[in-house]
């Protein structure tokens, strides 16, 4: 068995992917920990590694038709300093891990890892990010919500690679992000909240609300958002208790080493309350 392959370009990577069962690996910051066996031992991967972190095609950030295209191999540290990336996403990324890990970790890895606590996910769900999945013979574009199906589960086919993330061209004039962790640096999320809104003349033209770490997948409800859109801010401010009640049924956290279900739920609803009451 080959233990790994370093393709020269994306085409070669996809050809390898089509021919061999493989584990795509970019930065490795999640996989190397998940497969670690301890001091001095090499991590235990059951399939050959396909190294894709160095592929130029996956390292670009560009604007096409007004949409931002982020290569799956773009580093977290590169997102923070790129002027095409929105302040909302930067805010989430700046609070992820630490500089030595952000210099390795990629946005594509954070998505494919499909952790409920993946910190780029609430933003990507909120903005309706789409993913380009390529194989030698096909290309499909799907909504991130259709890609991640369960904790650690995604719909990537054995011959596909995530190549690009598309952020639709849309301006929000209100952006609110909070990550709740045990401390500031190197913290894993207990609960996170992404709120985005477009307010004009005190009317809610658009609103996006996403919760991280409080259910098997990111929580977002188009139905509740639709009930808010088009209304005057004063009406929304008055309806906050009602909106909280609706979201309370969707927020289904668990107790684990990081936090308790009760705390997660409470803090998530408080953050939503804070976001909604700040709209003006």
């Amino acid at each position: 068995m080959v233990d790994g392959f370093r393709p020269a370009d994306l085409q070669e990577a996809l050809e390898f992917r089509a021919r061999h069962p493989s584990i795509p690996i970019a930065g490795g910051t999640d996989l190397m920990v998940q497969k670690a066996r301890g001091f001095g031992l090499k991590p235990d991967f059951n399939k050959p590694l396909l190294f894709i972190g160095h592929l130029r095609k996956l390292r670009q950030i560009s604007v096409r038709d007004g949409n931002i295209h982020i290569g799956a191999g773009v580093l977290l540290s590169e997102l923070i300093i790129n002027d095409k990336i929105s302040e909302a996403l930067k805010m989430a990324v700046r609070q992820m891990a630490s500089p030595p890990s952000r210099n390795l970790a990629t946005i594509g890895g954070n998505i494919c890892n499909a952790s409920p606590a993946g910190d780029t996910l609430p933003y990507l769900y909120a903005v309706d990010a789409k993913l380009i999945l390529k194989s030698v013979s096909s290309e499909r574009i799907i909504h991130i919500g259709k890609f991640i199906t369960d904790p650690k589960q995604n719909t990537l086919e054995h011959d596909e690679l995530l190549t690009e993330i598309i952020i639709p061209n849309k301006i929000f004039n209100v952006s609110y992000y909070k990550k709740v962790g045990q401390r500031k640096g190197m913290s894993l999320t207990k609960a996170s909240f992404q709120g985005l809104a477009d307010i004009k003349n005190s009317n809610v033209l658009d609103i996006r609300i996403a919760f991280g770490s409080v259910a098997p997948i990111i929580v977002r409800s188009r139905e509740i958002e639709a009930s808010i859109i088009g209304k005057p801010v004063s009406e929304i401010n008055a309806a906050v208790p009602e909106i909280l009640k609706k979201y309370a049924t969707l927020i289904r956290p668990i107790d684990d080493a990081r936090s308790s279900a009760a705390y997660r739920k409470r803090v998530s609803l408080r953050l939503l309350e804070d976001f909604l009451s700040k709209l003006s």
């Binding site: 690996i25 190397m32 190294f51 160095h54 630490s98 500089p99 890990s101 390795l104 190197m186």
Partner: protein, 156 residues
């Protein structure tokens, strides 16, 4: 897999399983023991080295990823003028106690000062947020980094 890379300014060609951790290759094959293993999961920063001048956790890097890259550890960085300034400043500020975390912190400091020669308090705290120290309480380390930035003016 055959991997070619530059280690402390010297070209190396190694035959390895590409899933091996860079940390283990540095310590076991090259005997560069300034690189420490603390947690093995990217939390403590004791294994931080420079890859193309940027601080990275060597415990998280599969060696398949270092092809063509330049890795620098304390063993060679300590010969530089910039290191001497950091060492002097750290000693003066009391930034070092047991010393286990120090190589990683020195590497993070170098990476920070290369990017930002005049960092403020918060920038220093962020740059060192991936390095745990159980002795000093951090304030003395931050003081040490500030002192190095002032003293080493023009070096970064």
């Amino acid at each position: 897999m055959k991997i070619e890379f530059v280690l402390n300014d010297k070209k190396q060609v190694i035959q390895v399983d590409p899933a091996s951790r860079l940390l283990d290759i540095l310590r076991d094959d090259f005997e560069l023991t300034s690189v420490k293993e603390g947690c093995g999961e990217g939390e403590c920063g004791a294994c931080v080295v420079l890859m193309d001048d940027k601080a990275v956790n060597s415990c998280l890097i599969p060696v398949g990823n270092i092809e063509g890259r330049h890795i620098v550890t304390m063993e060679s960085f300590r010969k530089t003028e910039r290191y001497k300034v950091i060492e002097e400043s750290f000693l003066e500020a009391g930034s070092v106690q047991c010393g286990f975390c120090t190589p990683g912190i020195v590497m993070s400091t170098e990476s920070l000062l290369r990017e930002n020669p005049k960092p403020g308090d918060n920038e220093i705290r962020d740059a060192l947020s991936g390095n745990l120290c159980r002795c000093t309480g951090y304030n003395m380390i931050i003081k040490g980094v500030k002192l190095a930035a002032t003293r080493g003016k023009g070096l970064w």
